[in-house]
């Protein structure tokens, strides 16, 4: 299996990925390559397989075919230590999945302290710094259920960023935010990208995708129908399906 063809320059490359639940094929022959510092946005209607693709990238699902390589190494090999891979990949789930029994700060310092062996004081300093960048410093000692949806969303983003992952997978991170906060998160994501974090983002927010993405992938029924720079996808899509989708989600010009 070591002779798998991988693109040496890419940070993450996926080829021929297939995933099915029983008879239902959710991802079919998905190929994608992500260069360092890139921000790839996955767009497509609900149920098109965006979340499933992100879960596969984080090795949370057993895939049915294809190869996923991270940093020049195949990670879809069953012998690979999934924990080691995940410790370099951050993920924010669509439903946040914050731990309700821990305060926001403890949510954020759990992995740095237990997985990466960072000292408590250092982990808390970094978490507090990130929390204040997201306007959450006064919520650090609260439990997640006391926070609004948007605050929980940002707390989940901070939790994922606390370990300084090489790759961030974000699932609908702007879904629960009001437009003002979308702008804020957008600038943070952009700054994070500039600082060297590579990201794969599933989103419904086309303005966000257009602003922040270096590459946009349109998923339809488990396939990547079209991919390219946002300027091209949003202004002159090649596929009819993409045009239809964009006509539905983009405000009429």
């Amino acid at each position: 299996m070591s002779d798998a063809v991988t693109d040496a320059a890419s940070l993450l490359s996926v080829s021929g990925l297939r995933k099915s639940y029983g008879d239902r094929v959710v991802l079919d022959d998905v190929s994608l390559s992500v260069e360092p510092h890139e921000v790839v946005c996955l767009i497509g209607s609900s149920g098109s397989g965006k979340s499933t693709l992100l879960r596969c990238l984080n090795l949370l699902e057993e895939i049915d075919d294809g190869v996923i390589s991270f940093d020049g190494r195949e990670i879809s090999d069953p012998r690979v230590d999934a924990r080691a891979v995940r410790s370099r990949i951050g993920m924010v789930f669509q439903a946040y999945n914050l731990f309700p029994h821990l305060t926001v700060l403890d949510n954020c310092t759990l992995a740095p302290r237990r997985v990466h062996g960072v000292r408590k004081a250092d982990a808390e300093a970094r978490a507090l710094e990130l929390l204040s960048r997201f306007g959450l410093e006064e919520h650090a000692t609260k439990h997640p259920d006391r926070l609004s949806g948007g605050q929980q969303q940002r707390a989940a983003l901070v939790r994922a960023m606390c370990t300084s992952p090489t790759l961030l997978l974000l699932d609908e991170i702007t879904a629960a935010l009001d437009p003002e906060l979308v702008g804020e998160v957008l600038s943070i994501v952009r700054a994070e990208a500039a600082a060297g974090t590579t990201m794969v983002i599933a989103t419904h927010e086309m303005a966000f995708a257009r602003d922040v993405a270096t590459q946009v992938c349109f998923l339809h029924e488990g396939r990547i129908l079209e991919q390219g720079p946002p300027a091209q996808i949003f202004s002159s899509p090649r596929e009819e399906r993409t045009r239809q989708f964009l006509a539905r989600v983009l405000p009429p010009a």
Binding site: M1, A4, D65, D77, F93, A95
Partner: protein, 282 residues
Amino acid sequence: MTDWSPSEHELERRRVRRRLRTRSVLIATAMTVLVYVVVGFGITASPGWPRFQDYFLSWSDAKDSLPDVWDAIWLNIKMFLIAEVFILVFAMLIAMARVSRSAWLTPLRISAIVYTDVVRGIPTILLVYVMAYGMPALELQGLPKSPFFWATVALVISYSAYVAEVFRSGIQSVHPSQWASAEALGLSRGQALRHVVVPQAVRRVVPPLLNDFVSLQKDTALASAAGVFEALATSRDYSLYNFNFTPYLVVAAFFIAMTVPLARLCDWLTARMRRRELAGAL
């Protein structure tokens, strides 16, 4: 779908997965055999083993006592099955009384609290004595005097208090947002409890509930203290006449045989509920 066939790479991956699985099965088997061989050897090598064998593992005594124990164990099973139904109903009512908020139900709520506090504090065997010897002495009209009846009542009283607390903890573990969304739909608190919260609570408490029921199955043996001639009493009788304790092990084997199917049934039920609810979630 039909035009897809796994790539060479995927086939190789499946082979690797299979190898990894085989490896963990081998490790599991080897470790299990090793542990049991060592433990078994330790026991049979003990100095008192031959005498123990004579008193507790006599094949002929096991065979002789088996028919009587077999007949008597039906009494335990009957008692368990009857008690179980009443316990489930009473316990649920007590739990619902405890989580109610209505001002009208305050006396009920207080009674429920006092009941669980008091009853859980009394050793079950004491309840069995009090019920089986005390209640018939009251000469209440229309109530049976049989020790079987009163021993069953004692078990119902005792276990209702335990199981009520299990139900209550399940109800309280359901996230407040579930109450909120039920009430937002216009459901009353009682309706929210009945249609939304309790069904979720019941699923969560299946394992601790099973614990209590296994315990109940065994505690049917306490009826022997009330003079019910159930399995334990029968084997004690045999032991005293024949000076051999093997029948106790026969009874133990019967109790184990009763609990194992119950445990597997509960495992299967919980696994099925999880599969149904978690498919597609996250």
